[in-house]
C-alpha cells in the first residue's frame, strides 16, 4: 500500500504535465462535444417537433442508427469512412473524432430535449398562440424556459456520459486523459498508479459537474 502511494507521488512528480495536458484535452473535447452536441441535438429535437412527417421520419432513423450502434464504431466511421466518402472535407484525425462524438451526443441530447419540451403543458403553447405570438417566440419565451427544468437533470447525466466517452478518442491517441494514462503506462511499465491518477481526475471532473448542476437546479426551484 505504502509502495503504491510512493509510486503515485513519484509518477505525479515526473509526469504531471502529461496528465494535465490530458486533462486539458479531455476538457476541450468534452466542452466542444457538449456545446455543439447540444446545439445539434436541439435542432434535431425541434425538427422532430415540427410534426412534418418526412422530417420526423428522418430524425427517427438518425436517432435509431446512432443509439443502435456502438460509439466506437461511429468514431471509426468518421475517422476512416467519411474522409473516403467525402475527400473534399479536409479535417484532421482529431477533428473527425470530435465530429463523431458530437454526432453521437446529438442523438441522445435530442431525445432528452424532445421529452423535456413535450412535458410542458400544452395549454402554455395554446395561450401563447392565442395571444398571436409567433411559433419562434412561443418556443423561445414560453415553452423552452419551462422545458429547461425538465431537461437539465437528464442533460447533466448525458454530459457526464460524454466526458467519459471522450476516453474512446484515446484509441486513436488523441491527447486526452486516457491517452495520458497509456503514455505514462508505456513509459514506466506501471499500471495501477497512472490508472489511479487518470481515474481520480475523471471523478473530480464529473463530481464537480454534477454538484454544479445541483446548485443550478436548486436555484431554479427557489425562483419557481
Amino acid at each position: 500500500m505504502l509502495e503504491l502511494i510512493q509510486d503515485v507521488v513519484k509518477i505525479w512528480a515526473k509526469y504531471s504535465d502529461v496528465f494535465l495536458n490530458g486533462l486539458w484535452g479531455t476538457v476541450w473535447i468534452s466542452l466542444v462535444t457538449v456545446i455543439l452536441g447540444t446545439v445539434l441535438g436541439t435542432l434535431i429535437a425541434l425538427l422532430k417537433l415540427t410534426n412534418v412527417k418526412i422530417l420526423t421520419w428522418i430524425v427517427d432513423i438518425y436517432i435509431e442508427i446512432i443509439r443502435g450502434t456502438p460509439a466506437l464504431l461511429q468514431i471509426y466511421f468518421f475517422w476512416l469512412g467519411v474522409p473516403k466518402l467525402l475527400p473534399m472535407l479536409e479535417l484532421s484525425n482529431t477533428q473527425w473524432i470530435v465530429v463523431a462524438l458530437i454526432v453521437n451526443a446529438s442523438a441522445y441530447i435530442a431525445e432528452v430535449i424532445r421529452a423535456g419540451i413535450q412535458a410542458v403543458d400544452k395549454g402554455q403553447t395554446e395561450a401563447a398562440k392565442s395571444l398571436g405570438m409567433s411559433n419562434f417566440h412561443t418556443m423561445q419565451r414560453i415553452v423552452f424556459p419551462q422545458a429547461i427544468r425538465n431537461i437539465l437533470p437528464a442533460l447533466c447525466n448525458e454530459f457526464i456520459v460524454m466526458i467519459k466517452q471522450t476516453s474512446l478518442a484515446s484509441i486513436f491517441f488523441v491527447g486526452e486523459l486516457t491517452t495520458a494514462f497509456k503514455t505514462v503506462q508505456s513509459a514506466t511499465f506501471l499500471v495501477i498508479p497512472p490508472l489511479l491518477i487518470s481515474g481520480v481526475i475523471y471523478l473530480v471532473l464529473n463530481w464537480g459537474l454534477s454538484q454544479g448542476i445541483k446548485v443550478l437546479e436548486r436555484r431554479m426551484r427557489e425562483s419557481d
Binding site: 403543458d121 395549454g123 395561450a127 398562440k129 392565442s130 398571436g132 409567433s134 417566440h137 419565451r141 414560453i142
Partner: protein
C-alpha cells in the same frame, strides 16, 4: 344589439373530426358573431362547444368549412394566422398563465414582442388593467402566489392587453372554487357591458341569461337552437333544449 352591426366572425359549414375521422365533433356549423355582441354557448358536455370556440381562432384546425374574421378567410392557406389571433383574445378553463413570468411580464410579453409596443408603455397599460381587476399590488409576484380566481383575472387582463376585437372564453369559471366564481364573472360582465364582443362557453346558466344578447344551444356537434336568452330559457322550441334545461336549471 342591432342586426346592422358589422359581422366580426363568420363560420361556414364548419366540421371537425378527431381520431382519424372516426369521431365527428362538429357536424357543420354556420354562424355569425357581430361586433359588440355577447354570445353564450351552452349545451351538454361532448356537444362540441369548446371545439367550436377553439376553431374560431384556429387552435383547432377545422376538418372542413371556413372561418372569416373581419371579412378575411383565416382558414385560407398561406395566411398569417398569428396576426389575426392578436385581435382575438382567449381565456381558458385552466387559466394557462405563464408560471415562469411575473404577473406584469405575463401581460406585457405579447404586446412587446408581437406589437412592438415600447416596454414602458406596455407596463403602464398593464398596470392600468391590473388596477381595473384589483391586482395592481400583485404586479411583481409570480402566478404561483395567486389564487385560481386571481389567475383567471390575470388571464383576462393578459388577453385585453393585446386590445383584441373579441374575447373567447372557454368555460372560464369551471376550474374555480365556488367562492371565486363571482369575482371572475363580474370582470367578464363589466367587459361585456363595455361593448367588447364576447363569446363564452359556459355552464353558468344564470350568467348566460343575464349578460348574453344571444344564446346558442349546441347538441351533438350542431347548433340545435339559437335565440335571445328569453327565447332559449323561457320558450325553448327544440325538445333537446327543453330536456337539457330541465337537467341544469
Amino acid at each position: 344589439m342591432t342586426d346592422t352591426a358589422k359581422v366580426l366572425i363568420r363560420v361556414e359549414n364548419l366540421k371537425k373530426n378527431f381520431n382519424n375521422d372516426n369521431l365527428h365533433v362538429l357536424r357543420g356549423i354556420t354562424e355569425e358573431i357581430r361586433e359588440g355582441e355577447v354570445v353564450s354557448i351552452i349545451g351538454p358536455s361532448g356537444s362540441g362547444k369548446s371545439t367550436f370556440l377553439r376553431c374560431l381562432n384556429l387552435l383547432e384546425t377545422p376538418t372542413s368549412g371556413k372561418v372569416f374574421f373581419e371579412g378575411v378567410e383565416i382558414t385560407a392557406k398561406k395566411i398569417d394566422v398569428d396576426k389575426h389571433r392578436q385581435k382575438m383574445g382567449m381565456v381558458f378553463q385552466h387559466f394557462n398563465v405563464f408560471p415562469h413570468l411575473t404577473v406584469l411580464d405575463n401581460i406585457t410579453i405579447a404586446p412587446i414582442l408581437e406589437k412592438k409596443i415600447p416596454k414602458a408603455q406596455a407596463e403602464q397599460k398593464a398596470m392600468e388593467l391590473l388596477r381595473q381587476v384589483g391586482l395592481e399590488d400583485k404586479a411583481k409576484e409570480y402566478p404561483r402566489r395567486l389564487s385560481g380566481g386571481q389567475k383567471q383575472r390575470l388571464a383576462i387582463v393578459r388577453a385585453l392587453a393585446m386590445e383584441p376585437k373579441v374575447i373567447l372564453f372557454d368555460e372560464p369559471t369551471s376550474a374555480l372554487d365556488p367562492e371565486m366564481v363571482k369575482d371572475v364573472l363580474d370582470v367578464i360582465k363589466r367587459l361585456a357591458d363595455s361593448g367588447m364582443t364576447t363569446v363564452i362557453v359556459t355552464h353558468e346558466m344564470g350568467f348566460a341569461r343575464e349578460v348574453s344578447d344571444r344564446v346558442l344551444f349546441m347538441d351533438a356537434g350542431v347548433i340545435a337552437e339559437s335565440g335571445t336568452p328569453e327565447e332559449i330559457f323561457q320558450h325553448p322550441r327544440n325538445p333537446r333544449t327543453v330536456e337539457f334545461l330541465s337537467k341544469v336549471l
